[in-house]
């Protein structure tokens, strides 16, 4: 068991190592074989990005925390709304069928296009931020949760039905725990998206944040290209962090799940 765990870590490290080697050789290839004058923008050397990353670590970290806090607020609101709506839709088949198509319509509205109108409705940058980030988080959570709620075993439903459990209890004790795996699959998609959303919202102006770093470094050209990549890297790390939080939450909340991806005995 232990051995297996550590070999898994080694595999992750191997992946990272392979990616870095590929990255470095790609950059080298662009620079020295293709003589691409856009090499720095297209694919700067990984070690250069890392060196920028560590040189400006303090500043990147501060911005990352800012973006993370915005993302977290949006994520929590969006996920909560997603869960709630999925429950309401499953709760009443009627409501579900009535609002589901409109939910899709709503989701299809391009967020960036909606921003001006949201700004004119809520009139506060902070509130607009949360609404927009929540909007993006909402859908994967709602869809996954809804499909989980719809797949509950007939027998398990019959059991609690035979106790004439109230709807509330049916949801608390059966529907929700039984859809937790699906919900978590949705949350795993949504958590990194929430970071994306927070950064997206920074395009509407903010004092600081990873998005602002990305914007600045794009605006001022090649000299900031490394900073751009370092910021993108930071953003990706934030996303991984979000994913990891959900992953551990899942392991914590669902002890009955046997170790997933159990190895086959072929």
């Amino acid at each position: 068991m232990k051995r297996w765990q550590s070999s898994r870590h080694i595999a992750t490290l191997a992946w990272v190592a392979v990616m870095i080697v590929l990255w470095e050789s790609g950059a080298w290839f662009l620079q020295n074989v293709l003589h691409d004058n856009m090499q720095v923008q297209k694919l700067p050397y990984f070690h250069q990005v890392m060196s920028t990353f560590f040189t400006h670590f303090g500043s990147l970290f501060a911005d990352a925390m800012l973006t993370l806090s915005r993302a977290a607020t949006g994520f929590v609101c969006g996920a909560a709304a997603g869960i709630a709506v999925a429950i309401v839709m499953r709760f009443s088949r009627f409501i579900g069928e009535m609002i589901f198509p409109y939910l899709i319509v709503l989701r299809m509205l391009p967020v960036l296009a909606l921003a001006p109108i949201i700004y004119s409705i809520v009139k506060s940058q902070d509130a607009a931020r949360i609404v927009l980030a929540a909007f993006i988080t909402f859908f994967p959570v709602a869809v996954n949760m809804y499909s989980g709620l719809k797949s509950v075993d007939r027998d398990k439903l019959d059991l609690i039905y035979s106790y004439a459990a109230s709807k509330r209890e049916t949801y608390c004790k059966l529907m929700i725990p039984s859809s937790l795996p699906d919900l978590f699959a949705g949350l795993k998609i949504a958590a990194p998206s929430a970071i994306t959303a927070a950064i997206l919202v920074e395009m509407f102006g903010a004092d600081a944040g990873i998005g602002i770093k990305i914007l600045n470094s794009l605006y001022y050209g090649a000299s900031s290209a490394l900073m751009f990549w370092a910021s993108v890297l930071t953003a990706a790390l934030l996303g991984i962090f979000g994913y990891a939080v959900i992953y551990f939450l899942e392991k914590m909340l669902m002890p009955w799940q046997k170790a997933d991806g159990k190895e086959e005995a072929h």
């Binding site: 075993d153 027998d155 398990k156 019959d158 059991l159 609690i160 039905y161 035979s162 106790y163 004439a164 459990a165 109230s166 209890e169 004790k173 059966l174 725990p177 039984s178 937790l180 669902m254 002890p255 009955w256 046997k258």
Partner: protein, 259 residues
């Protein structure tokens, strides 16, 4: 007079829709009246509609035609009044709950206090011999152990009507005999109405006041046999000639049917 019965099944038929849209008649014109505190067994070969009938009574299915009344109530009303305790044919445990938590599920729903839950679940775990496994999750239990959890869960709430679908089929003879006796003890103490599905004829005789024999395709209630053995019944009763007579009488109901 009709109110003398706890359960009235009148001309009940159940037709499922098959894959190709064709009809599968699971039950046809079943009539049965069950008195309060009666112990009834439903006996019949595989696929004859026993589970279907139990599910109709429990309001988990609606009959295609006919009517079911539970002490004057509709199955729905009786269910809402929480008169039912049900043991399913498969254990139907919630995999996110430990064994104890599974047994406590209906107790929580019926708003028992934490202490009551603890006491009742302890008692039930003891009865089905799983005290040591209280904090295990279902996947850690053997098939028979899981089935016993299902039984413990149904008995925990002390319902007015106990619907049991082949509860002992996965159990060995000794465990089974012990639980049969436990069930009879509980039944005689609490005067529940029990509807017990089984395919084991001797089990049906040992437990029941009456045995209802169902024959398949479509499921028809072909005989209702009174079991006038004295109570309390103990294990030795199985070796009496009366018992043997009933056994062969019921066997005969099925004879010829099996081809």
């Amino acid at each position: 007079m009709s109110t003398a019965y706890k359960l009235q099944i009148e001309d009940v038929s159940m037709v499922y829709r098959g894959q190709g849209g064709e009809d599968i008649t699971a039950l046809k014109n079943v009539n049965l009246n069950i008195r309060k505190s009666e112990f009834i067994s439903l006996l019949g070969p595989s696929g004859c509609g026993k589970t279907t009938l139990l599910r109709l009574i429990a309001d988990l299915l609606q009959p295609t035609s006919g009517k079911i009344a539970i002490g004057g109530l509709s199955p729905r009303a009786a269910r809402k009044a929480r008169q039912y305790g049900m043991v399913f044919q498969s254990p139907v445990l919630y995999e996110w709950r430990t064994i104890r938590e599974n047994i406590c599920l209906p107790l929580e729903i019926m708003n028992k206090t934490r202490e009551e839950r603890k006491n009742i679940s302890d008692e039930m775990l003891e009865m089905v011999g799983l005290s040591k496994f209280a904090e295990c999750y279902p996947f850690q239990l053997s098939g028979g152990m899981q089935q016993r959890v299902g039984i413990a869960r149904a008995l925990a709430i002390n319902p007015e009507i106990l619907l049991m679908d082949e509860p002992f089929s996965a159990l060995d003879e000794f465990t089974r005999n012990k639980l049969q006796e436990d069930l009879l003890r509980i039944w005689s103490n609490t005067k529940k109405t029990v509807i017990f599905v089984t395919h084991n004829i001797s089990e049906a005789i040992f437990l029941s006041d009456r045995v209802c024999v169902l024959t398949p395709h479509p499921g028809i209630l072909s005989a209702v046999i009174d079991i006038d053995l004295p109570r309390p019944r103990v294990d030795d009763i199985r070796d009496t000639p009366e018992f043997a007579a009933l056994l062969s009488k019921i066997r005969k109901c099925f004879a010829g049917m099996n081809e």
